[in-house]
Subunit: 228 residues, 2 copies
């Protein structure tokens, strides 16, 4: 891991955690770990004077050219939003729900979660960086997969928009642990608990046109990663 | 289900699906089904001239007072963002990743997913509607749970901000099915497949201060709902 990944985050006023300071994490490694576990992010862009939030596949290069490393947004799934965003400040958010916190009152219901919010100026990516960015996007879907695929064609590169967002300005939060109820509700004998939630892989569906049924190693690793 | 839930969505230019029209769904029932399966949404608000995207717990009332029904955002987790948003147009997005589509080229990698994007003017909720809204939020976490809890206190209600967003203007998309590769890559004998992803419940952790270990029926139903 590069030295950058262990550097502290640099929250500004707008990425400083406003509530529940105890839930704020400050290590770049925490940010990268939360991003590494995600298959999609939610990107906020300004369109027509109001925010639009779209689910977008992304990639991460901790050693990318931007301060703090680079997050890449893959454009073809959000052509409109991304063509509107160059040089715009965008917000990229990733959230994992880890558990439902089922308290004794509605008020204390909560979730255990990990979230990362990145704010930065979008930059259009081209040339060699674009190839590395698209590889990072594929490796986000299945780590190690880009190295197993044929190179991108010029036509494919031309048909895809890639946007870079610096990982510099970020806010990372998590909630862990049990319920936090008022004592009178505890004394009243009301039930409470925490229900963990996980993402798991289902049964792999090999494409019917594949002759060699051997599952590639990167895909086998991914299935293991999402098994419980 | 009310007649509203079977009415078509009413996409405007800004919620009309721009790419992959074949992936657009047009039934309000599809919108409600996608929302019903989500524990959190990602809300985009405008702060300081740029969008901020935050994960927020929410509730849905298909028969709420707004045209198309009402989505409620629970404020205390995002006090800053929500106090900035009254009368602002906000964007609420929910996404489920159903599968990784592992194609024969980087270009054709994709995901099977279902997503809902709702755009509407935020409205502060008070009085009786606020109580119903907070019940809807708890019932989003575990359906049926609000009826098992003691009433909200006045202090709890005062400490919570609730925002309503009309479910009128929404865009619903999904991708299903297998890989969609170029024939030369298929002919080259490259492997491809689809890896389904699911959310499942883990092992329930009953709070240590609970004497009666019987799990409430609403929680048992939720565990079953997220079992595979």
């Amino acid at each position: 891991m590069s030295s950058r990944t262990t550097a502290p985050l640099s929250p500004t006023a707008r990425t400083r955690v406003g509530r529940h300071h105890d839930r704020a994490l400050s290590d770049r490694a925490d940010l990268l770990a939360i991003l590494a576990e995600a298959k999609i992010c939610h990107v906020g862009v300004l369109m027509g004077g109001h925010p639009v939030v779209l689910p977008i596949v992304f990639g991460v290069d901790p050693d990318g050219p931007d301060e703090g490393g680079t997050l890449y947004l893959h454009g073809s799934v959000a052509a409109g939003a991304l063509s509107a965003s160059p040089d715009q400040e965008v917000c990229v958010t990733v959230t994992h729900v880890d558990a439902l916190v089922l308290a004794r009152s509605a008020f204390h219901h909560s979730m255990n979660y990990r979230s990362a919010v990145v704010i930065g100026r979008a930059r259009i990516v081209d040339g060699e960086e674009k190839v590395r960015a698209l590889d990072a996007v594929v490796d986000q879907v299945v780590p190690g997969r880009s190295a197993t695929l044929r190179p991108h064609t010029r036509k494919e590169l031309a048909a895809t928009t890639v946007i870079a967002v610096p990982l510099y300005e970020a806010s990372v939060k998590q909630r862990t642990g049990g319920v936090s109820d008022d004592q009178p509700d505890v004394d009243a004998g009301v039930w409470a608990g925490v229900l963990p939630m996980h993402t798991v892989a289902g049964e792999l569906e090999v494409d019917p046109d594949v002759d060699d049924r051997a599952v590639p190693e990167d895909v086998r690793r991914e299935i293991t990663r999402w098994s419980r």
